[in-house]
Every structure is written in C-alpha cells, then in structure tokens.
Amino acid sequence: MAGPVIAGLAGNVLPLIGTDAIGRLLAWPGLGGAVRLSVVTGVVSTLCAVAISLAIVAALQGGRRFGLLMHALSPLLALPHAAAALGLAFLIAPSGWIVRLLSPWATGWATPPDLLILNDPGGIALTLGLVVKEVPFLLLMLLAALPQADATRRMMLTQSLGYGRVSGWLLAVLPAVWPQLRLPVYAVLGYAMTSVDMGVILGPSLPPPLSVQVAAWMMHPDLSWRGPAAAAALLQLGLVLVVLGIARLAERPLARVGRHWAESGLRRQGLDRIATPLATATALAVVVLVAGGMLGMVLWSVAGLWPFPDALPAPLTLATWTRAAPSLTATATATLAIAILSTGAALALCLGCLEAETRFGLAPGTAAMGLLYLPLIVPQTAFVPGLQVMVLAVGAADTVPAVAAAHLVFVLPYVFLSLAPPWRAWDRRIAVVAAALGASEARTFWHLRLPMLLRPVLTAAAVGMAVSVGQYLPTLLIGGGRITTLTSEAVALASGGNRRIIGAYAVLQMLLPAAGFLLALAVPTLAFRHRRGMRAA
C-alpha cells in the first residue's frame, strides 16, 4: 500500500519544481486562516473523539447500557462521512430541525434566524461533525483491542484494590490498549485535519479549510492553479506530520502523569460519579445527532411542503424520488459497480495475503501494519492528485476501473484490518486434521477455511463497500466529474440547498452500505441455519 501513496506523492510534488507555485500559495490571503482552521478543527475534534470514546469504554463497559449503546453506535460506522455531515447540517442549520422544534414557542422565531451556525467561521460545526463520525470508529477499535489487553481481569483487580471504574481503567487498561489504538487515532487525526467532503458541507467558506481549497484549485478550469494546489497539499502533509510528531512526543509526559497517579495510590472513586452520566449523555448525543440527521434526510426526500417552523412536512410525496429516479439510478449503479470492483479486488488480495501467511507461517511486523495504515494517515489531498496525474498519463482517466483502482487504495486497508483478526483466530488444528485426511492446501482453503470464515469475509466485504461508497476526493479527481457516485453528487448538491434532492442522495448513501451489512449478517445465518456450531458468537 506504500506504493500508490509514494507514487502519488511524487506525482504531486515533482511538477512543483521550478515553478512559482509556492509563491502563489503564499500570496493567497486566506492561507493563514485556512491553516489555522484545518489544524484547530482536526486536533480539537480528535482530542474530543478520543476522550469521549475512552470515557464511554472506561465508565460503561461491562454494564447493561454498554451493549445497547454499541448496538446503536455500530450502524453509524457504515454511514459515509458526507451523509452524516448532510444529516447533521440539517439538524443544526438555522432552518434545521432543532430550531424548528424550539420555534416559535420558545424562540419566537417565525422565520429562520439569521445566525451563522452552519459553516461558522470558527469551524465549530465541522468539529462537531468530525467528532460524531469518529467516535463510533474509535469505539470499535477500542473494543477490538480490549481482549488482548486482558481488560476484564485487570478491571476486577483494580476494583478489588478499591479503585473506581474510570481510574482503574485509565491506570491499568489504557496503557495496554494504547499501542493498538495509536494507529487508528493517527488515522482519525490525519483524516480530521484534511477531510474535503466534511469541510465542504460543514466548514466555513471564507477562508475554507485548507483541504477544501486544495480540492477547489485541483478542479479549477485554469490548470495553472494545480501548482499552488500541490504546494498546499504538501503543506498539509507537513502539518499532519508535525501534529502526529507532537502527539507521539506527548505520550511520554502523559505516561509520567499516569505513573505518578498510580504511585500516589489515589483511588478517585468520585470520578465515576461524574464520568458515568457524562459518558452516557455524550454517547446518546452522538447517536441522536447522527440518527436524527438521517431521519431528517429521509423526511426531506419525501417532503411535499415543509415550511418553517413546522416540525414535520405535510403532505408526504414520492415526487422527488420519481423526478430524480433516472439520475439516482444511474449514479447508484455507478457507485455499486465501483464498490463491487474495488471490494472484490481488495478481498482477493487480502485473502491471498492471509492464506500465504497461513501456509508459509509468515508473520507481519509492526512496520507492515504501519504501511497498511499509510493511505489512511497520509492526507488524501497529498497523493490522490498524483494518482490522477498517473491515471491521465496511461489514458485511463474518467473510467470506472480507474476510480475503482483509486478506491482500492483506501478499501484494502479496511478490508484487511477487518478480516485479519478472525482469519488468524481460526482453529489451526482443523487444517492439521484435513491434511491428515489427505486434503490439499487448496481443498482446505476452499472447502474448510473459506466457508467457515464466511461471516467475517462477508463482513469485511461490507466494510469495503461502505468505505468505497463513502469516498469523495478520489472519485472527484480520478472520475474527473464524468464518473460520479452518490457521495460526490451529494457533496456537489450540498451547496445548492435543494434539501429534497440532497435527502434522496443521502438516503441512498446510507442504504447502500446498510444493505451490504444486512447481507453480511443474513447470508451466513441462512446458509448455516442447520449448523449450530456456526452461529455468530
């Protein structure tokens, strides 16, 4: 995975040499504001998302509410960033649902207030959007890391020593979990500092976040703007690396604080009384903001008349869907084709890689895992334009396979991260028994390992589909505007303000990944309905 990233970076940087690109970038008056906005929203949203996820797991894990909460949060993972942002935008906009529910009885407003809540210059809406989208991801990564950290027994131990839940978790479990959480957190940080689609929908416009400006310059009809765009993308990469470096360096002093706390013997049981209700409330807020936004999108897509400040539209109509049906169908088909191509390729590569690992007893090290995460951490704006240059050079621009290939760079890591743990946990003795029965390695793979791992394989495929459906910048740049997906269309429509058609696109954006996950649940359940030993754990 390092290949496309490095090649893309090179393709982006090399044309810069000997041009006035850097000078033009520095001459742009919005540069300082754009940089500040990108760094502040990225860092603040990541800090909040990490703190909220840690608080939720520390305060609630093992409790009754935790299971319910996870059931409510996990579907949010499948939601493309753009769809979540569009939903959130509808909730918090001056004419959005929250204001509608409070008007006119509490606010006295009969028309939408002239407030800049959405696209605020401080980037608060953007930060909020990033937080609600990243909390479910970090929670899932945390949950996956807990068993290896022996969390349950450590929690029993610290509590038997009189520590509160939260303090016991922070002191005894977090240090063991952190090494596995580091790369996901870096991925979140890299994404938050450089996301284009969320920036377009929720971020301010004068100046916009740096990433949005890069994308705008990239798509500018005047090709000479590509120089400053590449220079700005490089600046972004530098900013991300500096922030990641600071995050790495901050670990040591933070660990020292933790050690002092541990040595002080302070039990801090009182922390639970504050953290538990706070964590519950935040988790609920995340669920309500995302789910509420999506419900709003569904309603808009079938809304007839919905004047302010009515809380609900009346009448409901399918007019939007029927009117937009041709373009919706075409876009959804292209989206699906790209998702299937990129996920199919990713699945084949991952299965081949894992099977080779099993057969030849290879074990990937930390460095390999770092490489795998590279496309998730390096800003898309820094290397996707370089990929675009390469695609143009081979004459494959604006084709479905080219877009799918660009998606593969981002789909593959997620498919691998999803598939590798269950694959490696498969009972190796089954392969030994099969070999003793005379079965070849190929037979063991096709007849035993693959069917027994059908559930995780399909789940990984659903994850890959969701990642592909959610891609914005690769679609925009490699597709060149001629290949559009639900996400690129929805983001393009976002500025137009036709909420009915935005709603329809957002609903499809949500339905496509959801259908994938439903299939991943249903197919194994159906296929193994007479096999008790194959039920989901």
């Binding site: 089954i430 079965a439 007849h447 035993l448």
Partner: protein, 237 residues
C-alpha cells in the same frame, strides 16, 4: 503391510532433545507414548505427522510400510489423526464430514453416499448422515471422528489423547471401539497420552518421548516414578 517404523527419530529444540524414538509398530499394534504435559509428547506427534514448527530440528526417518515418508507433506503421508477434541467441521453435516475424508477415486454421488452410510452403520449411527455435528453427543462425535479418520484409508493412526474429554463410562466403550477398529484393520497406531488407564487399556508397550520404557504397569496410578524423584531430591554425599 510392514507397519510404522521410527528409525532413530530425534527432535531437538535449542540443542535439547525432546524426542528420541527408535521403534517399530507392527500392524494392529498400539504403542503408547506417555509423559506429563511439556514432556515432548506433542512434539513427537507433530514430528510423525509432519507439522513440526521451524524452531525444531529433526533427524532420523519415519518409514510407513517400508516407504520413507519423512520428506512428504502431511497430506501425502497416509497417517491418520484423532485429536483430543473431535474437530468435526462445524459447517458440514455428519455425512459431509465423512465424505470429505473419502478418497476421490470412489466416484459418483450414490457410491460415495453408500460408503458413508456403511461407515455410520459400523459406528452405530445409522441414518445420521444429514445431522448437524453440533447436535451430537460427545460419544457420537468421537465415533464420527474415528470413522472420518478411517475413511481416508490411512496406513497408520495417531491418537492424541482422544478419550480425555469423555466421561468414565463412555470412555471405556469408545476406547474399546477405537482399539477394535485398529486391530480389525491391522493399523499400526501410536497413542499419546498422560493417562495411565488409557495406556494400559491398549495392552501394548508404553514409552516416554525419549524412548525409555515407562515403569511397570503393575504399580498403582499416581505412584509413577517416585524413585526417580527421590533420587533427585536427596543427592548422595
């Protein structure tokens, strides 16, 4: 059929010998390799089966019916295996588990089905072909696992504590069933166990992984090798 011959089979790890066996197992004979956990029993098993990890060094040869199988992969050795857990494939029916083992040279759906049905009859499980393995009792699963190993037409059989998960009454019956099948088919077999009763039931030789005969079967269970311990506990001088 000349049986299974371990010709100066020696396995070392970091210079320490874990297995040292020079042994001929005649057709129908069951030799027991016994010792506490960590004594190299599983290493011996892995060596004969051909699944040793790269950290081990193997010397000597394994001959099956006169053929040197040491360089062959597990799937070509024709050495069957019964694990401690039955390891039935959970996604396949009982019949499909057995059909998986059946050589592909037996062709045709009905012919293969016939062999599977006969095997189930022999195991006292007539009509069980379409059952889900997860719905079988421990004893039934153990019998299916044995029939599966036998249907692959092995020329020798390795038994890795195959009775240890069964309760006392069932254990006696399953053990008798397995031993009868081995004798009836004239298979050389090696039983790996830490259980003295299982070892004695085979009526054959009992060795430790380093090839030494284990103390006489007449001594009571639990008093195994007290003399050795004492020799170490009270050094002379």
């Amino acid at each position: 059929m000349t049986g299974l011959l371990l010709d100066h089979l020696r396995v070392t790890k970091d210079g320490t010998a874990l297995v040292n066996l020079d042994l001929a197992v005649a057709p129908g004979e069951v030799v027991t390799i016994m010792g506490p956990s960590g004594s190299g029993k599983s290493t011996a098993l892995a060596a004969i089966l051909g699944v040793l990890g790269p950290e081990f060094r193997l010397s000597g040869r394994i001959l099956l019916d006169g053929e040197d199988v040491t360089p062959l992969p597990t799937r070509a050795r024709r050495i069957g295996l019964l694990f401690q857990d039955d390891i039935l494939f959970p996604h396949l029916s009982v019949g499909s588990n057995l059909a998986f083992a059946l050589p592909s040279r037996i062709r045709g759906r009905s012919a293969r089905r016939q062999v599977v049905e006969t095997a189930l009859d022999q195991a006292g499980l007539p009509g069980y072909a379409d059952r889900d393995p997860a719905t079988l009792s421990g004893g039934q699963r153990a019998r299916v696992a044995l029939m599966r190993a036998l249907l692959a037409e092995p020329h020798a059989l390795l038994l890795d504590e195959p009775f240890s998960r069964l309760d006392a009454d069932l254990r006696t019956r399953i053990r008798a069933f397995v031993l009868d099948q081995i004798r009836a088919r004239g298979l050389p077999a090696i039983l790996v166990t830490h259980d003295r009763e299982d070892a004695l039931a085979t009526g054959g030789r009992i060795l430790d992984p380093l090839g030494r005969a284990v103390a006489s079967p007449v001594s009571a269970p639990g008093s195994a090798r007290p003399s050795t311990r004492q020799a170490f506990d009270f050094p002379s001088g």
